[in-house]
């Protein structure tokens, strides 16, 4: 089956891109491994920040529901859920495995919005049952209504670590401590103060030393770190926990982009290897677009905007909209994106995107 656009990943970026393209007359297929569209939004029970037109004050699950309903109501979009993309081939086809077996779909263009994977860290006992990624804890609690345990050590104080700690407490699970290797808290102050008001200690310059237990986690030892991130002997504290939750960061998931031969570059500010792409979210392989965490670790509001830019650019590339209308609309979206990224909290990602811009411009100039 051939589509004009194949979107891989049905999260905020992929759904926004699919919608924008379909609204401009592009025939779209969305492939997503989960049974329900929405990506990470399906478990985000917290409210969003930013602008009201961009979902501020609305819970992530509700944003996901709105996007999903819009996609399902859109006649130009074919949805393949419960379907995994196994491989990208140079004839512009994608091998997919879904409920009806294996098949290949081809696309005139592709949007890879494959999201991110969680980072793992090394410590003795890190393979014991009871050691979870923060995403898994959120899925268990917010999607399935299952508590992961009775008492948690949270590793990492970025927004995910803070939000999941708060949600654990809401679910009646104790959070003994949040440890953070850096000298400062990683996430937004508003999340950190909510967590602190609940009496959860956030220990900066601390890390997990080891997990204890035979068959599963029965406890954890944390310790203080010196300036070179070395554990300081004598500062160990034992915590009575049965869950160790790792919120130690995300890295872009680019397996299919590598397969497709897209040029990639390492940008630490964006979480690792990311594709090189232009202001229309198009990579150096013409017709292959990216958006969302796969293009650089950020958050859902910017992911949705980048998805829209990509969807619009696909429509323009396929000749569905005149160039001037595309540029007009793209510039509006680009301004909105720049405004969302203008705050001091976005300085890191700004540096990351500047690196990519510089690379693209360098190549154009040569």
């Amino acid at each position: 089956m051939e589509y004009e656009l194949v979107v891989v990943g049905g999260g905020p970026a992929g759904l926004s891109g699919a919608l924008k393209a379909a609204q401009n007359g592009v025939r779209v297929a969305i492939v997503d491994r989960q049974e329900e569209l929405g990506g990470q939004l399906v478990k985000q029970t917290h409210k969003f920040f930013g602008w009201s037109r961009r979902g501020a004050g609305i819970r992530g699950i509700e944003i996901g529901r709105r996007l999903r309903n819009a996609v399902l109501a859109q006649p130009h979009i074919t949805v393949f859920t419960g379907t995994e993309a196994l491989g990208y081939y140079p004839d512009n086809s994608l091998l997919i495995e879904g409920p009806s077996g294996v098949s290949r779909i081809t696309g005139k263009t592709f949007l890879f919005a494959t999201g991110a994977q969680e980072r793992m860290i090394l410590f003795p006992g890190n393979d014991l049952p009871g050691v979870y990624g923060a995403g898994a804890v959120q899925t268990l609690m917010n999607v399935y209504g299952v508590r992961p345990g009775r008492s948690v050590l949270m590793v990492g104080s970025g927004n995910i670590g803070l939000i999941v700690s708060y949600q654990l407490r809401q679910a009646g699970v104790a959070v003994r401590a949040i440890v953070e290797a850096l000298p400062q808290i990683g996430g937004y102050a508003v999340h950190a103060s909510k967590v602190r008001r609940l009496g959860i200690p956030i220990l900066t310059r601390h890390s997990i030393k080891e997990a204890h237990g035979k068959e599963c986690v029965e406890g954890a030892t944390i310790w203080e770190l010196d300036d070179k991130f070395r554990g300081i002997p004598g500062t160990e504290k034992d915590l009575d926990v049965d869950v160790i939750c790792l919120a130690t960061g995300l890295t872009p998931l680019g397996d299919l982009l590598w397969q497709a031969g897209v040029s990639m570059t390492y940008v630490p500010e964006l979480g690792g290897f990311v594709p090189i792409y232009d202001e229309n979210m198009e990579t150096e392989r013409p017709g292959i677009f990216v958006a969302g965490d796969a293009a650089g670790i950020e958050e859902a509001s910017t992911a949705m905007l980048c998805g829209e830019i990509a969807g619009l650019a696909v429509a323009a590339k396929l000749g569905k909209i005149p160039r001037h209308r595309f540029e007009e609309e793209r510039n509006v979206l680009a301004r909105e994106l720049a405004a969302l990224r203008s705050g001091p909290l976005s300085s890191k990602v700004r540096t990351g995107y500047e690196r990519i811009r510089a690379l693209v411009q360098g190549r154009r100039g040569s």
């Binding site: 995994e84 993309a85 196994l86 491989g87 990208y88 081939y89 140079p90 004839d91 086809s93 091998l95 495995e97 077996g101 294996v102 290949r104 994977q117 980072r119 793992m120 860290i121 090394l122 410590f123 003795p124 890190n126 393979d127 290797a181 890390s207 080891e210 070179k228 991130f229 070395r230 554990g231 130690t248 890295t251 998931l253 397996d255 299919l256 590598w258 397969q259 390492y266 630490p268 690792g272 290897f273």
Partner: protein, 117 residues
């Protein structure tokens, strides 16, 4: 998170597992590096790291950092291993069905894409 040399030595002694899918320890990885492995592809072939159910999504960065440390290079210069289809392990039955169902002359229906086997 960066780990100091002392801490990583301690982790090695404690038999810490880096690749959870294939149960490969830090000690085994360091031994392979000491014996001359310089790339993630080599580690993969020697130890099967990153070849299990998660296809290296959990251990790839940890391995890259270990290599970078030993080679005295930044992690940015440690290239990931080659990515090939399928992106996740699939059942052998599925592969055989694909071959059975492939129309004559449609080599593209095999996993390898261009080649028929």
């Amino acid at each position: 998170m960066k780990r100091s040399v002392e801490e990583r030595n301690w982790l090695e002694q404690r038999n810490v597992i880096v690749c959870r899918c294939e149960d490969v320890t830090l000690e085994e990885i360091r031994r392979a590096i000491a014996q001359g492995a310089t790339t993630l592809d080599e580690l993969k072939r020697l130890l099967r790291v990153g070849m299990g159910p998660c296809q290296g999504r959990t251990c790839r960065e940890l391995l890259a950092r270990e290599l970078a440390e030993h080679l005295g290079k930044p992690v940015a210069e440690i290239m990931p291993p080659t990515f090939r289809p399928p992106a996740k392990p699939v059942k052998l039955g599925l592969l055989s069905r694909m071959v059975e169902n492939a129309p004559r002359g449609d080599e593209g229906s095999s996993l390898e894409g261009g080649e028929s086997r």
